[in-house]
């Protein structure tokens, strides 16, 4: 049986190809001039350049964090190119004007843009490397007053909004990679939902790292005004390169009174080959501020790619009765390393949070859940429920749990549960009895294991995630 399983585990990365679009790449290295160059290229206002330079100054004083349970050769930040943009082209109005090469890329990824638009009614803000190339459904969204555009565009067209919220949830000095991102971020998505508006469709962005050796530093921001709601989807694939690529994104969410933000991610970046060579370093800071009363922020992530994943989508529950949720499936195989989890910071009264984390580690990989549940003295009546389950596939892998629970008042309820298990021979035997082969059985068991999380995903993502997991892992028990 092992051989079958081995085969399944060792499926090559399907999305590994390089699109040859001419890129406008900045010389390698980072200094104030690089930042001025990025800012100038993007025609940014003075305050943003200041923000970048201050972040850079803060970054210089910071040390690379060593506490995560991941190991990798030291990153040479001077060997990275901090800006790569497809050659400037006039702004496009319809899909027909998009570079056919680019369209073919999405075709290969199985994400035909127009089909998606037609079938799913999804507006896709396509990020190709660092600059937004086309934005669909923008006009439809504009009708209800929703702003959904690239960050660069937002900086130019809605500077007052960007300036008001940029760095308020994740200050540049928050951590090493957030500071780096604040200094050199190139693009990302910007989303503003006005008061009382329920976003009529799921918003989606496809990120894709394309130029070899170019770190990608996205900056995404979602602001949900009073009484509004939005569901945002983020999906990622990247071509197979042998040298490591750094990805340090920052995502900030702000939910005001009664607002609701749902943020879903499927991440399937290049994870390196079976010997652990290559792959993306995914060092991401994601945080949502549930600022208003009764606001809700929900993170759902399916992490299957990247050589190293290091991210903790967090919720700061400031408003009374606000709700934070975190649903995660993290799969590691070969030599992948993942140190991921969440932070739930309860500050407001009667705040509630739920954490459901499922980790699956196969091959020589290591998968860690690291979470913080902090109940401040002011968070009376707070409630948290956490569940983190790990599944090990093969005896060379590791699963780790580091849950920090800090409670500072006596009228809150915190529960944490964790378990570790494997797919039992008896379970496989049961399936075999019913004529289901090991491959299909494991796929079913794993999908069952992750069900609680997949249920949280929007429909089309759930389908994709199920398929992704099946091809990454199914049958990998021996």
């Amino acid at each position: 049986m092992s051989a079958t399983l081995q085969n399944l585990v060792n499926q090559p990365y399907k999305h590994g190809f390089v699109t040859s679009i001419e890129s406008d790449v900045a010389p390698k290295g980072l200094n104030e001039d690089t930042i001025r160059m990025i800012s100038a290229k993007k025609k940014e206002p003075e305050w943003l350049l200041d923000f970048r330079l201050k972040s850079y100054a803060a970054w210089l004083k910071m040390e690379e964090p060593a506490w995560p349970n991941v190991h990798y050769p030291k990153i040479d930040f001077q060997a990275i190119s901090y800006y790569a943009a497809p050659k400037q082209k006039p702004k496009l109005k319809s899909m027909d004007e998009v570079d056919p090469e680019l369209l073919r890329t999405f075709e290969k990824l199985g994400v035909p843009l127009h089909e998606r638009m037609a079938l799913a009614g999804v507006a896709v803000d396509v990020i190709f490397d660092s600059v937004s190339v086309t934005t669909t459904y923008k006009h439809k969204l504009a009708e209800v007053g929703i702003i959904f555009c690239s960050m660069s565009e937002a900086v130019l067209e809605h500077p007052e909004l960007v300036q008001k919220y940029l760095g308020t949830v994740i200050p540049p000095s928050d951590n090493f990679y957030a500071a780096l991102n604040s200094a050199v971020f190139t693009d990302g998505s910007f989303c503003y939902i006005p008061k009382g508006v329920k976003c009529p469709m799921d918003l989606s962005t496809y990120f894709r790292i394309n130029t070899e050796e170019s770190g990608q530093f996205e900056r995404t921001m979602i602001i949900a005004e009073e009484g509004s709601s939005v569901s945002y989807l983020e999906g990622c694939t990247a071509p197979a390169f042998s040298s490591n690529q750094l990805h340090a994104a920052v995502v900030e969410l702000v939910a005001l009174d009664n607002a609701d933000i749902k943020y879903s991610t499927v991440q399937n970046w290049y994870a390196g080959d079976e010997n652990g060579i290559g792959g993306i370093y995914n060092f991401v800071t994601k945080r949502g501020l549930a600022k208003g009363v009764n606001s809700r922020i929900s993170w759902t992530q399916v992490e299957t790619g990247s050589a190293i994943t290091w991210k903790y989508p967090s919720c700061v529950l400031l408003g009374d009765n606000s709700v934070g949720e975190f649903y995660s499936v993290a799969v590691t195989n070969h030599y992948q390393q993942a140190d991921t989890g969440t932070k739930m910071i309860h500050i407001g009264k009667n705040t509630r949070s739920t954490i459901v984390s499922k980790g699956i580690s196969a091959g020589h990989s290591n998968n860690s859940y690291r979470g913080l549940v902090k109940i401040a003295p002011s968070a009376t009546g707070a409630r948290n429920y956490s569940q983190c389950d790990s599944m090990l596939v093969g005896h060379q892998s590791g699963a780790h749990t580091f849950p920090y629970i800090q409670v500072a008042n006596n009228c809150s309820q915190v529960e944490h549960e964790a378990s570790t298990s494997k797919i039992g021979e008896d379970q496989l035997f049961y399936f075999a009895q019913r004529g289901i082969n090991a491959e299909a059985a494991v796929s079913m068991i794993i999908n069952g294991f992750c069900k609680d999380v997949f249920q949280q995903l929007p429909m089309e993502f759930a389908v994709e995630a199920t398929a992704l997991l099946s091809f990454k892992l199914e049958g990998s028990v021996g």
Partner: protein
């Protein structure tokens, strides 16, 4: 950083000041061990909250006070300490401020069983002791264990030979009588193959001023041995108590431990248990604190070999503006298949200012294992309170009863009935709120 480093160095020097006057031991290896420990103290610094292992426990107060090694020993009478005696445990070793008090002790030396102080037991057991003493407790990165080892000259020694079971529980009583003194209690328990023994490690105080207890306990279970280890920390209200305990559980042995922390201004207990094949351990703990107390328990259960079983239940009852810390690590090494491990951390906060930091941690490198852990923090269940009220109890009485029961669950697990009664009484007194 450098400023605090210098301060630390000065502080450690002060603590080390008494060390050179220790009489040299006739055993060369023991002198070498001490010298090694002194060297380590020279290299290490006092941990701060910047160290992950100490991030919730601020011991800066400890470093602000100057403690000196005991200079004069106080001679106590049986009447002074009788109230600490445990009825069943007639075998008793008493240490006053860390110094052995023979007139108060009643050890055993017969049929190869030894319950004696280390100095008396050296001659007969030197060869048996050497592989364990100072070897089970890793002091290369633990400044408090290194300090204790630097001062190692006497200790409580329990040697139980092969296939022998010691019928009477052994009571190791450490009494603090002087203020501003630092004492270095040390215990070594060697349980031979197929042996069985019950030991009570008990820290008490006759005075309420500040002092510092820095204890190290080492326990080795050879194949098929069974050890019941009870630890009672009821130090004075201003005391500092830092203790390290290392246990190695060999094949098919069984280690049962119940530790309770009631006393001390700041206490810290590190327990490391390493399990070999088919070994079993049950590690339970209770911290019952109030006022401005801080009780910190760090445990590490290391499943080094296959087929071992571990169970852990740690409870904290926190009142006043006290602070409880629990960090329980379960480690399953590569190849330690069919490990079965269960851990639970349950915490009860009695007041709005009380606070708990808990971190149940799993590190697993084997696939065929069953590991679960759980943690809860909260207050009494209103439904339970209501149920008792419906049976005619006042709300206060109902709450008192439930709080008591929460703590008593751990005490219940002790195998000595008189001690159980004594400690249950303490829990009752401390958790009872007058209506």
């Amino acid at each position: 950083m450098s400023a605090s480093g210098t301060m630390n160095a000065g502080y450690l020097e002060t603590l080390l000041a008494g060390q050179p006057h220790l009489p040299a031991s006739p055993l060369a290896w023991l002198n070498a061990l001490r010298a090694e420990a002194v060297d380590r103290v020279g290299v290490l610094t006092v941990p701060t909250q910047r160290d992950e292992e100490w991030r919730f426990t601020d011991i800066s107060q400890l470093t602000k006070m100057s403690f000196h090694p005991v200079r004069t020993t106080i001679s106590l009478q049986v009447a002074d300490i009788e109230r600490f005696y445990i009825e069943e445990a007639t075998t008793r070793l008493v240490f006053v401020d860390g110094v052995y008090a023979p007139q108060l002790s009643s050890g055993i030396t017969d049929n190869g069983v030894a319950v004696v102080n280390l100095e008396a037991g050296f001659a007969a057991h030197a060869a048996a002791i050497e592989p364990y003493l100072g070897r089970l407790t890793e002091f290369s990165d633990n400044v408090f264990a290194a300090l204790n080892t630097a001062f190692l000259h006497d200790a409580a020694l329990i040697v139980v030979p092969r296939d022998t079971s010691v019928a009477v529980p052994v009571h190791l009583l450490f009494i603090a009588t002087q203020k501003d003194v630092v004492s270095y209690p040390r215990c070594l328990l060697l349980a031979g193959s197929g042996s069985a023994v019950t030991v009570v490690e008990d820290y008490v105080s006759l005075q309420e001023d500040a002092y510092f207890t820095n204890a190290v306990t080492e326990i080795a279970l050879v194949d098929n041995a069974r050890v019941n280890h009870i630890r009672v920390q009821r130090e004075g209200a201003k005391a500092f108590h830092i203790a390290n305990c290392a246990v190695t559980v060999a094949r098919a042995s069984n280690y049962q431990s119940v530790s309770v922390a009631f006393g001390a201004r700041i206490s810290r207990y590190n327990l490391n248990v390493q399990l070999a094949e088919e070994a079993e351990c049950a590690v339970d703990g209770l911290a019952l604190i109030a006022g401005r107390q801080l009780a910190d328990t760090h445990t590490c259960i290391d499943h080094a070999m296959p087929n071992a079983v571990s169970r852990q239940m740690h409870k904290c009852i926190v009142g006043g503006s006290a602070h409880a810390v629990f960090n329980g690590k379960i480690k399953v090494r590569q190849g330690a298949q069919r490990t079965d491990s269960r851990q639970s951390s349950r915490n009860l906060l009695l007041t709005g200012k009380a606070h708990v930091d808990t971190k149940p941690q799993l590190e697993i490198f084997a696939d065929d294992v069953k590991c679960t852990h759980g943690a809860t923090i909260g207050q009494l269940d209103n439904e339970e309170v209501f149920y008792l009220q419906s049976r005619g109890l006042s709300e206060t009485a109902a709450r008192n009863m439930l709080t008591y029961a929460f703590g008593a669950e751990i005490i219940e697990r002790m195998p000595i009935s008189s001690l159980k009664l004594q400690l249950e009484q303490t829990v009752l007194e401390q958790t009872t709120v007058q209506p």
